[in-house]
């Protein structure tokens, strides 16, 4: 099964016309409650292939909750209820037929704080391949190297692949985590404030990386940094109090927002 994941990408043409790319995620009428707290309210969003979609909004607006719902990491929080549908490539992610593990092999995730495994650099990236039964040594080595190259960290770690990942700097750890999430050649990459724990230089590196990765992956990135969203994304969704206030091209959101609350937020009047 895992090999199928690897092969599937080969069939995907790398270049596609820029308008009306296929839909990757279709969210309609999605609500989410933490116990009694209504955290996501009637979310309707369409995200397209090989685009960078930024999700912005003030703290507690539900942006992190939403991105964690997309690969169902939200299931780990006790007392969560959802309604509505989220379709990944036309498949309902909440349906029983769609195993959550499969969803997470198609959709990788990078977390707020770098969370490498206490294993070697190599084993960090090889982990998902091993878990999913890829035993071919050559293939594993190829995938590890390619993922580390894609995450722009290969040159820094190629001589110390068998050292513990905890010896890397925070920025390197985060790029290692990006490499780790690329090892299975996923379709989508979810990034939950991936630079919030990083210094400016590392942040810049990750941003450049996002720019390169969108050639091959659909990226959904949560950020509290509006300049970052403006710099790296094609589309931007502005969340406020659990609702999507506005969702449009990044250019429009930042230059000609149609909702006054969006304008207030991006011009720094609150948040």
């Amino acid at each position: 099964m895992a090999l199928a994941v690897v092969e599937r990408r080969v069939d995907n043409p790398v270049e596609q016309p820029s308008v009306e790319r296929p839909v990757v995620y279709n969210t309609s009428g999605c609500n989410l409650w933490y116990g009694d707290h209504h955290a996501l309210k009637n979310i309707n969003l369409e995200m397209r292939e090989k685009e960078v979609t930024a999700i912005i909004g003030p703290s507690g607006c539900g942006k992190s909750t939403y991105i964690k719902t997309l690969n169902r990491m939200i299931d780990l929080v006790p007392n969560v209820r959802t309604s509505g549908t989220i379709e990944y490539r036309g498949r309902d992610i909440f349906s029983k037929e769609f195993r959550v593990e499969e969803l997470r092999t198609r959709v990788g995730m990078v977390f707020q704080k770098p969370n490498p495994f206490p294993k070697s650099i190599f084993e960090n990236v090889a982990f998902s391949l091993r878990i999913h039964g890829i035993k071919n040594k050559k293939l594993v080595h190829e995938r590890v190297e390619k993922s580390l190259r894609q995450a722009a960290i290969w040159d820094e770690v190629k001589d110390r692949l068998h050292e513990n990942a905890y010896g890397l700097s925070g920025g390197q750890q985060q790029r290692l985590c990006i490499a780790r999430s690329l090892a299975l050649e996923p379709d989508v990459l979810l990034m939950d404030e991936p630079t919030s724990a990083l210094d400016p230089v590392s942040t810049l590196k990750v941003e450049e990386l996002v720019h390169e990765l969108k050639e091959k992956y659909s990226i959904i990135i949560v950020t509290h940094n509006m300049q970052q969203a403006a710099r790296i994304s094609d589309k931007t969704a502005f969340f406020l109090n659990g609702e999507v206030v506005e969702y449009d091209t990044t250019d429009k959101i930042f230059n000609r927002p149609s909702d006054s609350r969006t304008e207030d937020y991006i011009s720094g009047r609150f948040g």
Partner: protein
């Protein structure tokens, strides 16, 4: 100058008083001295015990050559005609009990630890943890007669060839006794693995068990091993259970179904009044005690070394 002082707030003038009369901070110098004395008492006691052990062990080796102690394979101190002092049977007895205890406690303890730290809901943990703490609080004498009056008859009803005193029953019960040690230290080790690391694994499509087995357990491994070593060290030093249920027949045989004697239960037998002060038998308990001390010291140091490595992980 004078006007300045009257202008000071009343709290400031109180502070002035406090710092001018020279009493401030006087206690600060005495406190570390007192604390050091307390620490010194406990260190001195430990040194005293070890010294006594060593001195009396030397008195024993003046009477019995050290070579006999370590090479002789029989332990017959009470023989009227020819007493032999070969520690081997007591060590074998101790290790048999420890082995059975380990075989009992390690799988159960680890399973419980994994369940509690990775799977159990908060409600279940709330019930199970206190129960385990009760298990740790049961006096060993109670475990002892539990072994003799419940476990032994149970085993004998299933396997009639097992003798009244044997290694299996006290071994299992010592194992039950050390389960809480394995569990609580292993749970600590597992829960110190950051949740974020587990999430990293789950987000790659690993199942819960794959995450537990391939991320959480390897990350906590040194803590888990340390917990096992420490628990086995307790099993080696366990006295009451083996005194009651294992018998008092020193034997180097590896047979598990018959009576045996451990280092600890020999000491109990002698101190229970079987030998007078100053006799060779009297001194022999120091030699046995010292051997036992070396065993547990080694195990504890091993556990400490391993768990130190584990602390460096994050």
């Amino acid at each position: 100058m004078k006007t300045n002082e009257t202008e000071k707030s009343s709290i400031q003038s109180m502070l002035d008083k406090k710092y001018r009369d020279g009493r401030a901070g006087r206690g600060e110098k005495i406190i570390p001295v007192l604390l050091f004395l307390m620490a010194a008492v406990s260190v001195a006691t430990t040194i005293g015990i070890v010294l006594t052990l060593i001195i009396e062990t030397f008195s024993f080796f003046k009477q019995i050559p050290i070579t006999e102690f370590f090479t002789e394979t029989e332990w017959y101190p009470f023989s009227e005609t020819q007493a032999t002092y070969g520690i081997l049977p007591l060590i074998v007895g101790t290790l048999k009990i420890t082995l059975i205890a380990g075989v009992t406690a390690i799988p159960i303890g680890l399973a419980v630890a994994i369940y509690l730290s990775e799977y159990a809901s908060r409600r279940v943990t709330k019930v199970m943890k206190p129960v385990l703490e009760v298990l740790a609080g049961v006096p060993t004498i109670v475990y002892g007669f539990f072994a003799l009056t419940f476990v032994t008859p149970l085993i004998r009803s299933l396997f009639p060839s097992v003798e009244m005193f044997n290694a299996i029953s006290p071994g299992i019960v010592v194992g039950i006794m050390i389960i809480p040690t394995v569990v609580s230290l292993s749970v600590d080790a597992l829960s110190s693995v950051p949740t974020a690391v587990r999430q990293g694994s789950l987000a790659l499509g690993a199942t819960k068990w794959e995450t537990t087995w391939r991320v959480a357990i390897p990350a906590a491994l040194s803590g888990i091993i340390a917990s096992i070593v420490l628990a086995l060290s307790r099993a080696i030093g366990e006295t009451m259970i083996v005194s009651i249920a294992a018998g008092s027949t020193p034997t180097a045989s590896l047979e598990l179904t018959s009576s045996l004697q451990t280092m600890t239960s020999y000491i109990v037998q002698v101190t229970g009044g079987d030998a007078g002060y100053g006799t060779t038998i009297y001194y022999s308990i120091y030699a046995v005690g010292f051997t036992l001390f070396l065993f547990t010291l080694f195990m504890n140091m091993l556990a400490q070394r391993i768990s130190k490595r584990f602390r460096e992980a994050y």
